[in-house]
Amino acid sequence: MAALTALTMLTAAGLAGCSSSSQTELLFFQFKPEAVAFFEQAAADFEAENPDIRVVVDNVPDPETALRTRLVKGDVPDVLTLNANGTFGELASAGIFADFADAPVMQTVTPSYAEVIADLGASAPGAVNGVPFAANASGVLYNEEIFAANGVEVPQTWDELIAAAQTFEAAGITPFYGMLADAWTAQSPLAPLTAQTAPDDFFAARFAGDTTFEQGWEEAALKLAELYEYTQDDPGAFGYQEGTRAFAEGESAMLLLGSYAVPQIRTFEPEFTISSFALPATDDPAETTLVSGVDVVFTIGADTPHREEAMRFIEFLMEPDRVAAYAEEQVAVPCVEGIENDDPALAGVQSYIDEGRIVGFTDHQFIPAVPLTQLLQEYLATGDTREFLVDLDTAWDQVAQRRTWGLGAVQG
């Protein structure tokens, strides 16, 4: 009898548990390790305002691989933050994400950043498969104090940049801190170098087979190798973590990274002002452009049963106060019109953003299967320019050849 009572009570408790779980559960796939606290707080605030929704924040390391692994299992998350890069474009063109072209929230977005998203790839003509949230500015970060102490002005041309590096080296200061153990860090300076030295239509021509990396990228590759001559010893032994720390501790004058690295550097509490400038790759200051991409884009799985709830969450995240708070915290460029970020680390590049002298990341044009990162790391270790460019061409051609279903929207 006692057992029966216990059983009844258990059942009742179970039922009670069920009735409170009429909540909708949203799986929020969050890619940005630097912003874990921000998004967890935002999710908690959202839950407080929307008691019918529970947001499960899934902060994933190695997000692109994690996402692809989920896709292989047919398991698309409800809401996602992603970096708007080549992989995003490829997945968007495969129809994985919902279309936001007619969503009211898109009215608030800066049009040029909505365009960046659409250009990466879309599920259908005219579709926009993500809501841009924050952008970055990728140039050179520098230590204002060291620059002032050595009487170095912000370089306006390539020659001035190299001259500055030589001045620092002569003064016993590491000009750039190399972080090649994390191979992707080399892509940061590669983007402005290729954008300014290769022809404007380089990728269109490369997709059409009318040009090669050997023809279009030689100058950029040589200049990249030249930059890495001015690093500390053994740059291949150190990664992003060590590099950002060393810069924060004043060990190097410059860091070849974008604004996205500033929050990480500030965790080491530097005692100087971090500033930035656009990397000049030519000797004509008018040719210099700033590389800027959408760092965080929101999107929704195309087939999620919780579309309406997911949309409500995104609208909540896109409220101007929240966008501004994020931009301030992450030293990002807000993608919502009318909001500006006056962080000193962005002051040096603000004019480029205002004037629209902006280009996207070169590597976002790449088919993800081409091992650009690896080839780049190899190149900077061996210094063989010809081999690097030939390998890049070979890898590109082979991937293009075996991919029967097209090269994704990167093609167009």
Binding site: V399, Q401, R402
Partner: protein, 313 residues
């Protein structure tokens, strides 16, 4: 891959099979069937079916999601001319051969030592087993730190310029040595255990007789110990080679395939190209080829090594 393990285990215990048949006579006892069947069903559903599914996808251009088309053998043809795949195979074979030989030589030597009359025998056996219970990834990051920071710092403090004062993991020519050191350090423990088990089976009288006949230590090892534990040597060689061919965690923790593609193993390329690069079908084809390679190596190894085995009974 699991097939090779089970073959090795089956081969290693041929005598047990004959005793199992005896009590039942001609008819198979249903009890045996019931013991085997659940395992077989689980193996079939969770291993064989996915393998067959994978083989199917190797003939498609699937990125792992969405639509795909039938492409026949073109993935396999493309594999042949892919330099990145070729260098991954070369690296993996070189790594697996070197590591297998080092691990077995070291483990055999240590096992003979730990089986002898020495002080603190049990403590030492425990100490030598510790690497086996540590996760490779965790140990890998520790070794990574040793190679990229500690060793160069020590070398510089001692005033040694040159090779040791920079990280060998950052050198495309030498990075693989770092991975071999980690793999050998980690894998020797498990092989010692198997060799120790083998050494227990060697009857002590044989050594007494041999020493009466005037055989020295080395002669005893060559003529008695090694022939009698040759079966264990075979198992260790086959299992080591198989697991080192599949090397993955070591590399992720130490170099992540770098510098460049210098230390990319086949397993790492399959994972990277398939999941990060979105070439699921293509890399599955690579995996099918690699599975065949591993099976062939295991069979050849068993054939060659078993020829030299003797039975103690």
């Amino acid at each position: 891959m699991a097939t090779t393990t089970s073959t090795a285990a089956r081969r290693a215990a041929p005598s047990r099979r004959s005793t199992a048949r005896r009590p039942g006579g001609e008819r198979l006892q249903p009890a045996f069937l019931w013991m085997v069947l659940p395992a077989f069903v689980l193996f079939f559903v969770f291993h064989t079916v996915p393998v067959l599914q994978g083989i199917f996808y190797s003939f498609t251009d699937s990125p792992g999601y969405g639509e795909w088309n039938w492409v026949g053998l073109s993935n396999y043809v493309a594999l042949l001319s892919d330099a990145r795949i070729g260098s991954a195979y070369l690296f993996t074979l070189q790594f697996a051969f070197v590591t297998t030989i080092l691990v077995n030589a070291l483990a055999l030597g240590l096992a003979v030592g730990l089986n002898g009359k020495i002080k603190f025998k049990n403590t030492l056996r425990g100490v030598y087993f510790i690497p086996n219970i540590l996760a490779i990834l965790v140990v890998g990051y520790v070794f990574n730190y040793l190679f990229s920071s500690s060793i160069p710092a020590i070398a510089r403090a001692l005033g040694a310029e040159g090779r040791l004062s920079t990280s060998i993991l950052a050198d495309p020519q030498l990075a693989w040595i770092g991975i071999v050191i980690l793999a050998v350090w980690q894998a020797t423990a498990f092989n010692i255990i198997i060799y120790l088990a083998g050494l227990q089976t060697v009857p002590g009288e044989l050594y007494e007789a041999a020493s009466l006949d005037g055989a020295g230590r080395w002669r005893q090892f060559r003529s008695i110990t090694f022939p009698l534990i040759a079966g264990f040597f075979t198992i260790n060689m086959v299992l080591s080679l198989k697991s080192f061919l599949q090397v993955f965690d070591h590399i992720v923790a130490m170099t992540n395939g770098g510098p460049g593609t210098a230390t990319e193993s086949v397993g790492l390329v399959i994972y990277r190209g398939g999941f990060q690069g979105g070439e699921y079908g293509y890399q599955i084809a690579n995996a099918v080829i690699f599975m065949i390679v591993i099976i062939v190596f295991a069979i050849v190894q068993l054939r060659v090594l078993q020829r030299n085995e003797v039975s103690p009974s």
